[in-house]
Amino acid sequence: MAIFFIQVLNSLFYASVLFLIAAGLSLIFGVMRIVNMAHGALYGIGAFVTAWLVGRAVAFGAAPAWLFLLIPVGAGVVALIGLVIEPLLLRRFYRRAEEYQLLVTFGLLLILEDAVRFVWGGLPLTADALMDAVPSVRLGGLVYPGYNIVVIGVGVAAAVALWAVIYRTKFGIMLRATSQDRRMASALGINVGAVYVSAFAIGCFMAGLGGAIIVPSQAAVLGMGINALVLAFVVVVIGGLGSLQGALVGALIVSFVRTLGIQFFPEIELAVLYLIAALVLLVKPTGLFGNA
């Protein structure tokens, strides 16, 4: 029973991180109609920046509690990158064909992946100090890292915060209006460019946060972003591109299937995930919650 409970917690932990990545991807698609292939790389950058900052801070003898502040800082750095990328590069592609949008973000992915290699080298970076700062909890005779529960909390908080921003604030109204009809929103006096850049930065922040909170429990390694991107694709395909609920449900489905897969059919765990995505696309092309 305790094992079962721990597996559920593991799934929720994984779902939190996946939700952060996929929700950012989905938000960007929902508003700008761009599938951002570089999204995975942004997640990787969040992980590397946070791990590096934690490493510096520990070297300076910072108290463990302060280290937690570095998680939003790491995510913020990624949001700043987003603030640069959107106006400089992506903006000119909104009117172009989808092929070009995909290719330009694919090029960006290659550039960002190598930028990480250039800055931090090829070695994995860890941020164990954060993991150790949270005491373990005992669950029916088994020990479980308390940090994982913090991550689940962050995931829930992020989902609630994002929902509140989109459905309960004036900015959210502008965001939804722009997403539904860009020209009409512009005619009503909404600064569409500002909405786009903010939405992109929020999406990047979410990806960076995903990377920042996972790095204490597993090291930041090269290529982590490319792998995460494909899983995030699976999530948004199951849930529906552009849908927040979809990202949440998709993340839960993917992480529970993955936990089951690791337990019972490890060889074909990933294949099963991709097959589920393909099945959903066959039955309901827009995903479970999509209306794109």
């Binding site: 995909l102 290719l103 991709y274 696309l281």
Partner: protein, 336 residues
Amino acid sequence: MMKADAPIVSHRPELALAAVSAVVLVALALVPQVVDLYQTQLLTYGLIAAIAALGFNLLLGYTGLLSFGHSAFFGIGAYTIAFLLRYLNIHSMEIYLAIGLAVVAVTSVLFGYICVRHTRIFFGILTLALSQVLYSLALKLFWVTGGTDGLRVARPSLLFGLVTFSGAGSFQRFIGTYYYYVLALFAVSVVILWVIVHSPFGKALQAIRDNETRAAFLGLRIPRYRLIAFTISGTFTGLAGILWAPLNGLATPDVLYWTFSGEIVFTALLGGFRSFAGPIVGGIVFTYLKTYAVATTEYWQALLGAVLVLLVIVLPTGIVGALSQLAAKLTTKAKS
């Protein structure tokens, strides 16, 4: 068609095209006589990439479907050969081609049947997801596929066992002979695909690409046309995989990974996916570009990425598109 638009002063464009193609083919056939072995090997890789991109472009350029999963067919081609060698101890290239093409065609029909119900971004993601299924299987079922190490592919015998490679200098002989083998299949592929895109079937595909609704009103059965295009496309990319495996000597999961599909898309764009010859130029240029990028800098990925971004911004019609525009400009100037 860019090639037809090219400013060749002739009243018989087909004749002129045939003449130009013959000159190019002869030039390609003479290349190994003037360059060293390494360059010959590189050009062989380039021709194989060109076949892969030509097949891919039947979908992107002529049917308007962007596949992000063509690595699947390339990889299936390569792995089929590795399996034939490892489990059935077959060494003949012709048997590889016969069985490999059949396997690739069947998989293409299967994948196509699932994918062509969708267009645009969903088509892309669906092809990507299916190719990732194969990648993860190749990675995880390591006792069958060799996992990340891949499977060794020995040098096969060519022309029904007439030409074999063993003993001293066999590598040099293999590269020298295999180049012509690939060149011949490349020429055959070009002719077949050229005929296809200029046939009524090819015109129908372009009609579907340009206006799906109108094409449907004309009575075209769109899903069927797309499925056939998908199958042909996958089969040619698979042929490239079959030819690649013996040259590379190893079938590895990298060629099934989705970033390899990205490279195929890159190749077609580099040459220009709006023209027939674009993917050919793209395949050869990309091979050289990547080889030299890898040789000169550790950060070759970033270099390729930067080239891709610049290309999309500055040269969206690719090398061939830009050249034909330039040529068109020069001729109008010369006339005035």
